[in-house]
């Protein structure tokens, strides 16, 4: 740990939650708690969860709430230290050397030049170094960290545990203040133990019914309480189906906005069916959900929509189907 001592940003878990609410981010107990702890312990937060549940938004909202600047590093395959940490501005360095050559007579020696071209003037800061060197409060967002290769993860380790960057020519640049750091991951691969160990872990799942309704009400202007209620119930119902991709919070919001634009006050099965493509992104999912929603309630509803029943029903039938066939 570093010995940088700064005043904590938040006074309590409740304060975090209220603060986030003011910037229209409705955090549950877990989210607020982890953000509070991250501040107190001076540790980065690794945020994981299904796409579209507000992982990136959390970092943005925390920045907005605390009035800090958001520095974002978007990760991708092939990201290297010259894009993440720092790079020497070699074009400028070349110019400098050439200029020196022209003025050879001025008597400057090579060592002067060398000292000169590896000074801060020729350093291009990239997001990580920028976050470390910032003197004002910053929030560092390292987005989709699971996209970089395992080897590249190592780049992050020094900064995450010690809040410093070592530059061979310059020495170590240490942070003057501990930035809040958020890493998001879509879990397309297992992150290394070393990285996980340095972070607090936060899994953001689809929100509870009440919270999702609240989110819809805050984020979609002009929506009636009744419609919001219907929307989140239908979404919950759809999430219990076995789909390739479940509707995320952002898709729920898109759907709500669409319905408001269409001037729909109370949604029925037909309207739901026609606008499903906003909620679901795969044709097979849309067909499946449409079938389920339009299904006449009184006729056979196979297995119902109860979580678990739908799943174990198929699992069981497979085993049962062949179970009778001996061994």
């Amino acid at each position: 740990m570093t010995d940088i001592d700064i005043a904590p940003r938040f006074t309590s878990v409740g304060a975090v939650r209220d603060g986030l609410r003011q910037v229209q981010y409705l955090a549950d107990e877990g989210i607020a708690g982890v953000v509070y702890l991250a501040d107190r312990l001076g540790k980065p937060v690794l945020v994981e969860g299904p796409a579209g549940t507000g992982k990136t938004q959390l970092a943005k909202s925390v920045a907005e709430m605390s009035g800090a600047r958001l520095i974002r590093l978007q990760c991708y395959e092939g990201l290297d230290e010259s894009k993440a940490l720092y790079e020497w501005n070699y074009k400028k360095q070349l110019l400098r050397i050439q200029a020196q050559r022209l003025a050879e007579d001025s008597g400057a020696s090579w060592s002067d030049i060398e000292e000169d071209i590896f000074s801060e003037e020729f350093l291009l800061t990239r997001p990580l170094l920028e976050a470390i060197r910032a003197t004002e409060p910053v929030v560092l967002l390292i987005d989709e960290v699971d996209r970089v290769e395992v080897e590249t993860e190592a780049l992050l380790l020094e900064i995450l545990s010690d809040y410093q960057v070592s530059i061979p020519e310059l020495g170590t640049v240490a942070a003057t203040q501990i930035p809040m750091v958020f890493l998001t991951s879509n879990n397309t691969r297992e992150l290394s133990e070393a990285l996980k160990r340095r972070c607090l872990f936060l899994h953001i799942d689809y929100p509870q019914l009440e919270r999702e309704k609240e989110i819809v009400l805050t984020r979609v202007p002009g929506i009636s309480d009744h419609l919001a209620d219907q929307i989140v119930r239908i979404v919950r119902s759809i999430r219990t189906l076995e789909l390739k991709k479940h509707p995320s919070v952002s898709e729920t919001l898109d759907w709500a906005r669409t319905l408001v634009l269409l001037g729909i006050e109370s949604i029925d099965a037909e309207e739901a069916k026609q606008t499903l493509h906003i909620l679901l992104k795969y044709q097979s999912d849309i067909i499946k959900a449409a079938k389920e929603l339009a299904d006449d309630g009184n006729s056979a509803r196979p297995g119902g929509l109860r979580p678990g029943t739908a799943g174990s029903g198929t699992a069981g039938s497979g085993a049962a189907g062949s179970g009778g066939r001996g061994t």
Partner: protein, 508 residues
């Protein structure tokens, strides 16, 4: 906060954490807290969660910043520092509930006097003036009145009331006796049977139907049912938690945690998975396939460097003033293998075959072609069931019901199945093909026909055998796996997702 929560919070403080000790100890923690936490962490490790020393220390540090009367915050503080994989959350939660459950005098098995007051308060709130006649406490209620109360609370979604009712139901129906060595499921079953929640659900649906003008549309009905299902599920969990609390109070946290210990999803044995575990497995399979596909694709691109990419190198040399300082290479594009999966789908290994087929098909974009065959004593190609189908579960279901795999009596006959395979499809095996055989090789003492495998190995790129049985069972009884294995490039024990994942990764 409801009175119940305040009550719970107090009990939590008094018993679990020597709060005063922690407050007074300047740098460290109170002994009680330390003991409790290290016991808790030991149990996490015993359940298979990888908790490092650093994380242990982080947890200790984290709880210092959390107000101790806030149980939820305490839980999240521990989770954030100790659990770094969402698949382990359930295991964590169970252990947390055992170690830090609400405890206090009135959670003991023989009974509660002090909660009467709070129930009385809730009762009068719910039922109005009329309850005074019942003397206030729930103990005095008749079973019919209790059922009525339950129905009302569920209809209104009154959580505090449901909690109180769950407690009352456990007291009345579970018949718990101190020291009796019976598992929690037994008590749960007894309690739920008495509550008869299916009938309650039906009644609620009926009431919703009657309450609406002109009945509910099918959509409304579905939504209402979802809502009621969720509430009833909540009640069921509450009952379960209540039983667990009392058992912990009776037996102690450590013993209780041990009985509740369950394998993590990736360690669940295919062959002996319960229905719930199968569901958990299927859930775990989905993210696994995604991960595996990404990893295989990456491996293909980044495995090694290909030949020099002249054009690219020259283009990049421009920024170095024409000096090719940074050579660029082509990405290698190794051929994707063709896969043939031949799976035994008789009852004993069906679950295993299903998971393997699902996994292989889910990542089929990483193979040039996947063909699937299933057998019991006859064999059939089932590739067509998977083609153009987005929902693998359904395909697997069709395989299980429609494939023509019975030849004589429907008892596994590997020899006959392999022989038939060789006659019909053998010539289609090419040097690019990897053949994967799935099964326990329990051949019911039929002829092995192992020569087929010897021939296959000559033609195919690779031939693998995956066996869902533990290695120690191989070649016992009618298992003849080693007769086949000698002709394979490898025979692997493949009992859980972890082993399956490892194998498939090696394939790509």
């Amino acid at each position: 906060m409801t009175p119940d929560e305040i009550e719970g919070g107090r009990a939590f403080l008094d018993v679990d954490l020597a709060a005063t000790a922690i407050a007074s100890a300047a740098p460290g923690h109170g002994g009680g807290m330390l003991d409790l936490l290290s016991g808790f962490i030991q149990e996490l490790r015993a359940a298979g969660l990888p908790v490092s020393l650093t994380e242990n220390l982080d947890a200790m540090e984290a709880v210092r910043h959390i107000p101790l009367d806030d149980r939820e915050a305490f839980k999240y503080a521990l989770a954030a520092t100790l659990v770094k994989n969402h698949a382990h959350w359930k295991a964590f939660e169970t252990i947390f509930e055992v170690y830090f459950s609400l405890r206090g005098a009135h959670y003991a098995i023989d009974e509660d006097e002090d909660s009467a007051e709070e129930i009385e308060h809730l009762l009068s709130e719910l039922m109005g003036e009329g309850t005074a006649a019942h003397g206030g406490a729930m103990d005095a209620l008749s079973p019919e009145e209790l059922a009525e109360l339950l129905y009302k609370a569920l209809m209104e979604g009154d959580e505090a009331m449901l909690r109180a009712l769950a407690r009352q139901a456990v007291t009345r129906f579970a018949g718990m006796e101190p020291g009796r060595p019976v598992g929690g499921t037994y008590y749960l079953y007894r309690t739920l049977r008495q509550l008869n929640l299916e009938a309650v659900l039906e009644r609620m649906m009926q009431a919703a139907q009657d309450g609406a003008d002109g009945g509910l549309t099918s959509l409304e009905e579905r939504l209402a049912k979802d809502e009621y299902d969720a509430r009833i599920d909540g009640l069921r969990k509450e009952v379960e938690a209540e039983i667990r609390r009392r058992l912990v109070a009776d037996r102690g946290a450590q013993a209780m945690a041990k009985t509740l210990r369950k394998p993590l999803p990736e360690d669940i044995d295919f062959m002996h998975a319960t229905r719930d575990e199968l569901t958990a497995l299927r859930r775990a399979l989905h993210p696994l396939t995604r991960k595996l596909a990404v990893r295989l694709a990456r491996k293909r691109r980044h495995g090694r460097k290909g030949p020099l990419d002249f054009r690219n190198t020259v283009r990049h040399s421009l920024s170095y003033g024409g000096v090719p300082a940074e050579p660029k290479f082509r990405y290698p594009r190794p051929a994707k293998p063709e896969i043939m999966v031949i799976a035994d789908i008789s009852g004993s290994v069906a679950a295993f075959a299903r998971f393997t087929l699902q996994l292989v098909y889910a990542i089929s974009s990483q193979f040039s072609r996947v063909r699937a065959f299933v057998f019991i004593d006859g064999i059939d190609e089932v590739t067509r069931y998977f083609e153009g189908i987005e929902d693998i579960t359904e395909a697997v279901h069709r395989v299980n019901t429609e494939a023509d795999v019975i030849w004589v009596d429907g008892h596994s006959d590997y020899g006959h199945a392999f022989e038939t395979f060789w006659d019909r499809w053998g010539k289609e095996i090419s040097p690019k093909t990897s053949v994967i055989l799935l099964g326990d090789a329990r051949n019911n003492y039929h002829a092995s026909q192992a020569w087929v495998l010897a021939e296959m190995q000559k033609k195919a790129r690779h031939l693998y055998w995956l066996n869902p049985e533990p290695r120690s069972y191989w070649d016992t009884g009618d298992s003849i796996v080693s007769q086949y294995a000698v002709h394979c490039d490898g025979a692997y024990e493949c009992r859980n997702l972890k082993q399956l994942e490892k194998f498939v990764e090696q394939l790509g």
